[in-house]
């Protein structure tokens, strides 16, 4: 088992959601390395500076300055060569968003849940199966559903 801790980067302009995310990851495994950013531009800068030293990028879509889609668009060239996997983490269930992010090479589309239990379960699932999340993802499996849980 690779002892190297899994590195997660969470980008969301909503401080509450960042708090939920951090709290949930602490419950799952204190060994997880978690960083957060409150906007897409800062996150991109940080990724470049750290030479993409992350395993999973959880990306909100609806953000000021630089939206999740903008970030995805800029990252899509580099993703193929890196092991960084992008998980969309949003309240939107809009089919147009699902399609757009799928095309921009995100690996999973998650709608933010309504309870903390669920959130913990979802993140735990993603962390556990992160190795299976490789491109290309079949579209039927792109949207996260309870069936994975």
């Amino acid at each position: 088992m690779d002892k190297k801790p899994l590195r997660l980067l969470y980008v969301d302009d909503d401080p509450d959601d960042r708090f939920f995310f951090e709290s949930a990851t602490q419950i799952i495994d204190s060994g997880l390395s978690v960083a957060t950013h409150n906007n897409g531009a800062l996150a991109l800068e940080h990724l470049h500076e750290s030479d993409f030293a992350y395993d999973l990028l959880f990306l909100d879509l609806n953000m000021p300055v630089k939206s999740g889609l903008d970030v995805l668009d800029e990252l899509q060239q580099v993703i193929k060569d890196r092991h960084l996997k992008i998980v969309i983490f949003t309240t939107s269930g809009n089919p147009a968003n699902i399609e757009a992010t799928y095309k921009l090479n995100a690996v999973l589309y998650v709608q933010k849940p309504g309870s903390f239990d669920e959130l913990v379960n979802i993140i735990r699932n993603i962390v556990n199966m992160h190795n299976q999340l490789t491109l290309p993802v079949p579209f039927e499996q792109f949207k996260f559903s309870a069936k994975y849980a």
Binding site: D16, N62, T91, G114, F116, D117
Partner: protein, 746 residues
Amino acid sequence: MPELYSAKNNSVTTIQNCADEPIHIPGSIQPHGFILVFNEKNEIALCSANAGEFLGTQVKEILLQPYLKVLPAALADIVTQYVQTGRHNSQVPFTVFFNDRYFDCFFRRSSPFFILECIAGIEHSNTVYDVLQHTNELVQVVNTRISLQELCQLITKKIHDITGYDRVMVYRFDENYNGDIFAETVVPEHEPFLGLHYPHTDIPAQARALYIRNLMRLIVDVNYEPVPVVTMNQELAQPEKIDMSDLHLRSVSPIHIQYLKNMGVKGTFTISLIKEGRLWGMIACHHYSPKNLSYARQIQAFLQTQILSSQLGVQETAEMYELAASLEPSMRALQEKLSQDGNFIKNYFEKMPEVSSITNASGAAFIDRDAIYLNGITPNQEQIAALHEWLLQKGQQEFHTNKLSKDFPPAKVYEQVASGVLFFKIIHADINISLLFFRLSQDRVIRWGGQPTQKMGIEALTPRNSFATWQQLIQGESLPWQTPEIDAGFRFVHALQQHLFRLFLREEEARVKQLNEKLVRANKELENINWISTHDLKEPLRKISMFASMLEEGRNIYAPQARRPLERIKDSVGRMQKLMDDLLLYSQMSQGFDSFEKVDLNELLAEVEQSFEMEKAEGIYELHAKDLPVVYGNKFQLHQLFVNLLGNAIKFRKPGAKQIVTVAGDKLNKSKITFCDNGIGFSQNLSEKIFQVFQRGHNVDSLGGTGIGLAICRKIMENHNGKIEAVSREDAGACFHLYFNYGIHN
């Protein structure tokens, strides 16, 4: 020897009971002729006391005697003729000669009696040619253009010529029966009365009634000694027994006689002027010494008067017509502006002189709810507002007066500008709108033939005795409103009403247009609800839910009292989320849809049932579907419809019993399907309410309804141009009837 009884009315008449005086049954006659009253046996039952004198015998000799025995042959002959035929024209007398005199004789039926009236002749009859000549002259004048006053003046001259009275007058009544001398021909020795006024009390109502009944009345000598009518039958000695109202010789009211005596008149002759059944006035002939007039001349004067009577209506109609025609140009000017598009009241009412001149008024006011518009000379706004209040309280659609301050004392202060008021109420869209016309006070002097307010004597038989001319200044009265003026006002009001209605319609149209635009905007905003509810509303809820569930994670460290509130927060949030999802769905369904397709409801129902697999597995319900049609519709919406109906049925099952849901088509009506269950049902009086948003048939929170599900169903059916109806009884299941009016597909 038989006793003689007099039928004369002996009761004392005083001025206070003047209105009750029984003057139609005086029981006495004037002395220039005599009467005989015959009973059923053709005996002379009564006669005037002077009958013996004229017949050359004694009254006692003829009373109770058969007429054939006691009357002169010439007289007896005409009585026989009357008894046999009963025919007699009361206008044309029998002329009979006996005892060296001519008599003009009239018969009158006064059941069970008949009366023979014989008036002593004073001259030989005029030839028919005299009558023809006078009449011809008059008719020629009538055919030329001549005013009513000129015609009346001419008549007085003619009658003066025919009768020889010192003074011949046309006495005219106003609407209150005050009189004035309208035309007069008088001999130079006497002062003219032309233009003098007399109060209505001079000719009381029952006297006027007699003037209508008997069109002619001759008083030969005001100092006559009334001749009593006598009988030997005491039962007949009552004035009520025989009505003598219609006799030419009828005795005159003592009050009237005294009145004439006070005026210094000795002999009079009057002819009534009747217009449309109403006493318009009289021809009054006065003589300053006693004067008898042959019946022939009376008739001749009467004929002239009849020509005048026939002209009264014609003349007045002509004058009214001219008045109406003179108002027509104002009406045309107003109508032209009223037919234009703009608001007449705001643009023209205060500026156009025609607004007042349409009724020959000096000013006008239009009173709307919040504003008063003025034209010409008027009282001020507050005065008009107070007057309007009073007029509305009268509750009449139209009201007019030419002495406003008499009816409405506060108007005294502005009587100079508004003694005359003509008021019209305009009902427009339940709002009181009024139009008022004003007329200036027309100060004038009335010359009374004696002071009209003078106290009358309290002694019996004392009418007023002063006829000294007395002048009165009349203020606070305008010219009266004439019918054509009121009619013109009414036509204006009518045109105004139509104008206002047109304006109202246009405003309404604009309002509807505005409302439509508002609706379109509102609908656009409604579309935004999708966005708003997903983001702005749903986000905070999700957060509350998250925080609550985070707290639950650590529930063990909280006091037990904190757990229940925590659960309640979660429940409420859950309900709120479901509500918003349903509202969102409802608003989506409200937007209708564009795409139609054939939908097989059998297939659709099978699809929908998959959503309730769990409930089916648990044996909570059983679904029986048969003969469902294929309809045109929107599959997405119809799917939602079935989900809601089936979900509803499952939700409202009887506790512990399996819910049997039957969905069936209708053999007779292919566009109808029925959704029935055997659940708890609801009261039929809720069958409409349950389709409204947030209305629930059951107040049971545990059933978890949002109160929107059936509203969505109705929306969907409306989108399909159909309808949904509910039939149920409490505890007896529910049925929903669905009608698809887009028809079915075979």
